[in-house]
């Protein structure tokens, strides 16, 4: 589908491909588990995010070419899931549930506490030291243990504003 893409590949712009060496090998291994290449799109995007921290337009084009998809299709998928980052994020990525049940229990205060202690200032922005990005997300499925927070891949329940400084210290 993307055969036309390299048509005017420019010799001057530098782009560092993600899928080389070990990353490429991992993708190939993943491909063996799926019936076709399109099905491996989500894990391929994870590999990009793991290697680069976020997924740029050029990365999407690279994935499209590798999997025989169109760049627009890949973009459609990346922009559908909130867990793929389309902009650079901090080293630690904090997701605070602020859907109604948690909200009633003070989730917004938790989010504000994270902003304050990490120095990230605004939701979605990255702290000046590059270590933290905080965002609000919809229900994390732990409504009985408000407020749940995800820091990177760790799931932490029953967070209150006063527990935030401790958490921040731990992950710094």
């Amino acid at each position: 589908m993307s055969a036309g893409m390299s048509m005017h590949a420019s010799g001057t712009e530098e782009y560092q491909a993600v899928f080389t060496g070990a990353t490429l090998e991992r993708l190939q291994e993943i491909l063996t588990r799926y019936p076709n290449r399109q099905a491996a799109l989500l894990p391929a995007l994870w590999l990009v995010q793991e290697a680069r921290g976020w997924i740029s337009d050029r990365n999407m084009a690279e994935v499209a070419e590798l999997l025989g998809l169109t760049p627009a299709y890949v973009k459609g998928v990346v922009t559908f899931y909130t867990m793929y980052h389309q902009h650079p994020v901090g080293k630690n990525f904090v997701q605070v549930c602020t859907t109604s049940p948690c909200n009633i229990c003070g989730a917004e205060d938790v989010a504000m506490a994270f902003l304050e202690h990490t120095g990230a200032k605004e939701l979605g922005a990255t702290s000046p030291d590059g270590n933290w990005t905080v965002i609000e997300v919809e229900c994390l499925g732990a409504c009985g243990f408000a407020t749940p927070v995800m820091i990177n891949d760790d799931f932490i329940e029953s967070v209150t504003p006063d527990k935030v400084p401790e958490l921040v210290r731990k992950y710094r």
Partner: protein
């Protein structure tokens, strides 16, 4: 067959039909937005919901299959309520203030028509909760832009691009509240592979995706209500797309393609050239009066040359093509596409660039004076007759034109044969499919495709394409091939370049240029060792197979692998697929034919095809893809040196008798000798002293231009009939301004033998005359009675002398046209040929054994690269038209050479750098485009550009049978050119 009622009308429908299809078949309308004919059904807009008796809920008509006894009400109260609901929801994010005007506003598009029809009043902008939509907008694009505030997310554009054009530039991103149409990953259509075909423009129901040029030049009123809409045929390639010309102010304001469901060769699509390349006739360079070279003066009723003599006679204040080739020149400006306006380069600067580069320099007009038609034609007639008297008719030659209609080509050859007594009539087929014609004539005495384009999609299992970059050179056919491939046909591509189709192919045979004979022979070799040949076909329908069996014995795949560079196993696999079909179609184009052994190359492919019996069935087609929009027709009506119409030989006295009688001349005045071909004419030994050229530009298209250009200087007389003062016309004695495609009526034959009618849409500017009119007038002045007024009159004479067109009339060509043979007035035309027999004496095909020889010029230390020439998507041949078409030229404004990244690195050159290419003939300077489409060691140079003409370098050595030149291969060396600091 289910029967049902729709709005009380009893109908029977096909088993697999949807309610919508059944309704449409019965002439009943149901509103639709996301549905579009031929696109996959998504059923997401919900405007088509209808009531079905017994169903608790409304059902989508576009996605619900009919069942027996169904009772459908399309405009039930519930359905109408729903529709109004859908429309008002869509209007929540649609700028519709103009529709609030008490219902007086005029709807601007399909969507707004529904809004009016259902009387929905849009919420005023200030009362809305949601902002208007956004999306990628293609800012600065010369042809297509988006205004995504009016997008209703029907996704027609996404599906049209993906499923009809098979490109996939567009998709829906940010699904959810902020859903929008995205262009590729980064908003840049270029990187996403967009071909600017405009299919997305055509399907969009709201004009969110729109064409730029009409909007810039005409008022909305003029665009919405054209003075007339006229069916014509695209003036570019051999696919022969039908197009509708919209006229405002006596100019073509816009081109649209016919209904997607109409029976046209293009099935409603066009490529970028057809849809956006229509404005060249309005270019300010257009010639509007006849021109006569200063120095011709009338004395005592006779024209005499009083000007300079010798080499200066045809000179002028311009650089030769050779000279321009040597100059340094501005590199390619950055392409004006991308996501954000502020990332774009300065537009004005590029505009200026384009105008200055493309225009005919004003100094070119200096050697000429304006003249009246009477003066010009009198002078042409006098000189042609003088040369005929003094030196004989064979000292004259004409180049007719594959861009002109059948009627015009017929009149041209009629005039040269009937009035001037010479068969020196030819056109650019010589540099195109002449080798195919030679090979096909040798084998089965025919000169055209056996099948239709459509069968590739409908019935073909294996598509074998050799030397054809179809997606760029015949884009609409290319898209059809891609669709066939997506639907499951196997695609095998033999090409030295990694073209788009090669990139998609199941097998890409990337051979060394010119090694085709070895490749196809090896495939046949393998087929024979496996016993996969079609023995029955070989015994009952061919002769001479033993000779070919002998000839291919030497080419086992391992040996061929060494010659061609294609791994032996790949050859074997391709051979097996080809032979086992069951229906394999064989397509080829210039990559095979433009060689000095082109006839042999095509022959070896035909041998493979006959041995497997892959011809004469629907799905097993032989398709040489013709280049020009009328190269087939120009040959069919006899604008070639050895035949009259229908390939009746000029050497046959009986044929001559017939034509003499029709034309009202004595048989003796018609020559029985074959005439000279294009490539033979332009040689010192040809003896040609006077020429008439209609719509061709040999000074750019002939091999080894420097010699060709020099040759023209020695002529005693040269007349050129064209739209512009071309590189060739500037050397003429008389230049006659002809009419463009939109300004005349005539018929054209496409690559599948389909004769189509193009009708006049606008009047010509100034004193321009139709080519037909010019030729009629001139014929009469030359003493050959030409009793015609219209193209229709001429067609009536053509069909009298062309048996396979006998049933053709202009009236019958309305609509889809007719695929000849059409032997009788009620014959429906012929979709495919040779089901039972070939048109040879005994009905059988002849195998002709051929041997591989190395290409004449191989790379060596002094000239280490192989140069290949060809066409680009946005340009046409010598650029006379496309370089004056605003949108097209903005895409490819400057000459380039494609170089493989590894070679570029080794030479130390980057994108945009200037390099000098030198062959054994000549050299020229052009800019680098780094591209992995070419293999290492090879370079590709498009031949459209006067300032870096590829044909300065090409080799004029000729094919022994068809006199085709070696246009595809020559050895070159490449050196970086140091640029002066500022350009």
């Amino acid at each position: 067959m289910p029967s049902l009622t729709i709005d009380g009308r009893a109908l029977t429908a096909g088993t697999d039909q949807t309610i919508l299809e059944a309704a449409r078949a019965a002439g009943l309308g149901i509103p639709t937005l996301c549905w579009y004919p031929k696109l996959p059904i998504v059923g997401n807009c919900r405007i088509c919901l209808v009531s079905v008796a017994g169903e608790p809920k409304l059902l989508p008509a576009c996605a619900t299959k009919v069942t027996d006894g169904m009772q459908v009400t399309t405009e039930s109260h519930a359905a109408v309520q729903n529709r109004r609901g859908v429309l008002s929801l869509l209007l929540e994010r649609y700028p519709a203030d103009h529709l609030r005007n008490g219902g007086r506003a005029e709807p601007r598009n399909e969507f707004e028509r529904y809004v009016m029809q259902y009387g929905v009043v849009p919420t005023p902008t200030w009362g809305r909760d949601l902002p208007l939509r956004t999306g990628d907008e293609r800012p600065g694009d010369p042809m297509i832009r988006h205004d995504m505030t009016t997008c209703i997310l029907c996704t027609r554009c996404v599906r049209a691009c993906e499923d009809i054009q098979v490109v996939g530039v567009l998709d829906v991103g940010f699904r959810g509240e902020h859903a929008e149409i995205v262009v590729g990953a980064d908003g840049d259509p270029e990187k996403a592979g967009c071909t600017w075909c405009g299919e997305c423009v055509r399907v969009c129901p709201t004009g969110a995706i729109f064409e730029v040029m009409p909007k810039e030049r005409f008022s909305p009123q003029q665009i919405r209500h054209p003075e007339r809409v006229v069916r014509s045929v695209c003036p570019y390639c051999g696919v022969g797309c039908q197009v509708d010309l919209h006229v405002a102010n006596n100019t073509v304001a816009r081109v649209t393609s016919p209904d997607i469901e109409a029976d046209t060769p293009n099935q409603g699509s066009t490529c970028v050239k057809g849809r956006f390349g229509y404005d060249f006739p309005q270019h300010r360079d257009r010639l509007t009066t006849p021109l006569i070279r200063r120095g011709w003066e009338k004395e005592g009723g006779c024209w005499a040359w009083k000007g300079r003599r010798g080499a200066e006679r045809r000179g002028g204040p311009w650089k030769s093509i050779e000279g321009e080739g040597q100059q340094t020149k501005p590199g390619t400006p950055p392409r004006v596409t991308g996501k954000k306006v502020r990332q774009l380069p300065l537009l004005e600067r590029i505009d200026m660039d384009i105008r200055d580069r493309v225009a005919t320099p004003s100094s070119w007009y200096e050697p000429f004076r304006e003249a009246t038609w009477d003066e010009a034609l009198e002078l042409v007639a006098q000189e042609l007759l003088r040369i005929k008297q003094q030196r004989g008719g064979d000292a004259l030659a004409c180049f007719s034109s594959a861009k002109c209609s059948n009627e015009e080509n017929y009149l041209m050859m009629r005039m040269f044969r009937g009035a001037l007594g010479t068969n020196n009539v030819d056109h650019c087929t010589r540099l195109c499919h002449s080798t195919s014609v030679a090979a096909m004539q040798r084998a089965i005495n025919t000169a055209a495709a056996s099948g239709s384009m459509r069968e590739i999609e409908e019935a073909c299992d294996v598509i074998f394409i050799a030397g054809a970059n179809t997606t760029e050179s015949h884009p609409v056919f290319g898209a059809l091939i891609k669709r066939a491939h997506e639907k499951g046909a196997t695609l095998i591509v033999a090409d030295p370049r990694r073209t788009e189709l090669a990139g998609r192919a199941d097998i890409h045979l990337q051979m060394q240029p010119g090694t085709d004979v070895a490749l196809y022979s090896a495939m046949l070799h393998h087929i024979l060792t496996q016993g996969l040949e079609n023995k029955e076909f070989i015994t009952t329908r061919t002769h001479g197979f033993e000779g070919v069996r002998e000839a291919v014995r030497a080419y086992d795949p391992d040996r061929a692998a060494k010659i061609t560079g294609v791994p032996a196993d790949t050859i074997r696999r391709a051979a097996e697929l080809y032979a086992t079909g069951p229906n394999t179609s064989t397509l080829w184009a210039m990559g095979l034919t433009q060689h000095a052994m082109g006839t042999d190359i095509v022959t070896s492919l035909l041998n493979l095809m006959f041995a497997c019996g892959m011809i004469g069935r629907w799905g097993a087609a032989m398709l040489p893809i013709r280049g020009q929009n009328n190269v087939q027709g120009a040959s069919d009506v006899g604008a070639i040196p050895f035949v009259y119409t229908d390939y009746q030989p000029v050497t046959d006295p009986e044929v001559r008798e017939r034509f003499a009688k029709t034309w009202g001349v004595s048989p003796e005045s018609l020559s029985l000798n074959k005439g000279l071909m294009v490539t033979e004419v332009v040689k010192p030994e040809s003896g040609i002293r006077g020429m008439y050229i209609m719509g061709e530009n040999p000074i750019i298209s002939d091999p080894d231009i420097a010699h060709a250009e020099h040759w023209f200087l020695q002529l005693e007389f040269l007349a050129v009939q064209d739209l512009f003062l071309t590189e060739t016309a500037r050397y003429a004695d008389v230049v006659l301004p002809g009419a463009s495609f939109a300004e005349k009526t005539g018929t054209f034959v496409n690559t599948e033998r389909r004769i189509q009618l193009a009708k006049k849409a606008v009047d010509s500017p100034g004193q321009v005359r139709g080519d037909l009119e010019i030729l009629i007038d001139l014929s009469n002045r030359l003493g050959l009675n030409a009793p015609f007024k219209t193209a229709d009159d001429v067609m009536r004479e053509i069909v009298r002398v062309t048996p396979s067109w006998a049933g053709v009339t202009h009236a019958r060509l309305e609509g889809a046209g007719l695929q000849y043979p059409v032997p009788t007035p009620d014959h429906p035309g012929t979709r495919f040929l040779f089901a039972d027999a070939f048109p040879t004496a005994d009905g059988k095909a002849t195998f002709v054994p051929v041997q591989y020889t190395d290409p004449v010029e191989l790379p060596d230390d002094a000239y280490p690269f192989v140069m290949n020439t060809g066409r680009q998507l946005y340009h046409w041949h010598t650029g006379t038209m496309t370089r004056r078409a605003t949108g097209l030229d903005a895409r490819e404004p400057t000459p380039i050479v494609e170089i493989h990244p590894a070679d570029a690195a080794r030479l130390g050159v980057a994108e945009g750098d200037l390099v000098r290419l030198t062959s054994r003939r000549n050299s020229m300077v052009t800019a680098v485009r780094v591209s992995d489409r070419v293999a290492r060691g090879q370079v590709f140079v498009p031949f459209h550009f006067r300032e870096a003409a590829a044909n300065l370098l090409t080799n004029p050595i000729l094919d022994p049978y068809a006199k085709m030149a070696e246009l595809k291969i020559c050895a070159v060396r490449i050196e970086p050119v140091r640029m002066p600091a500022a350009v």
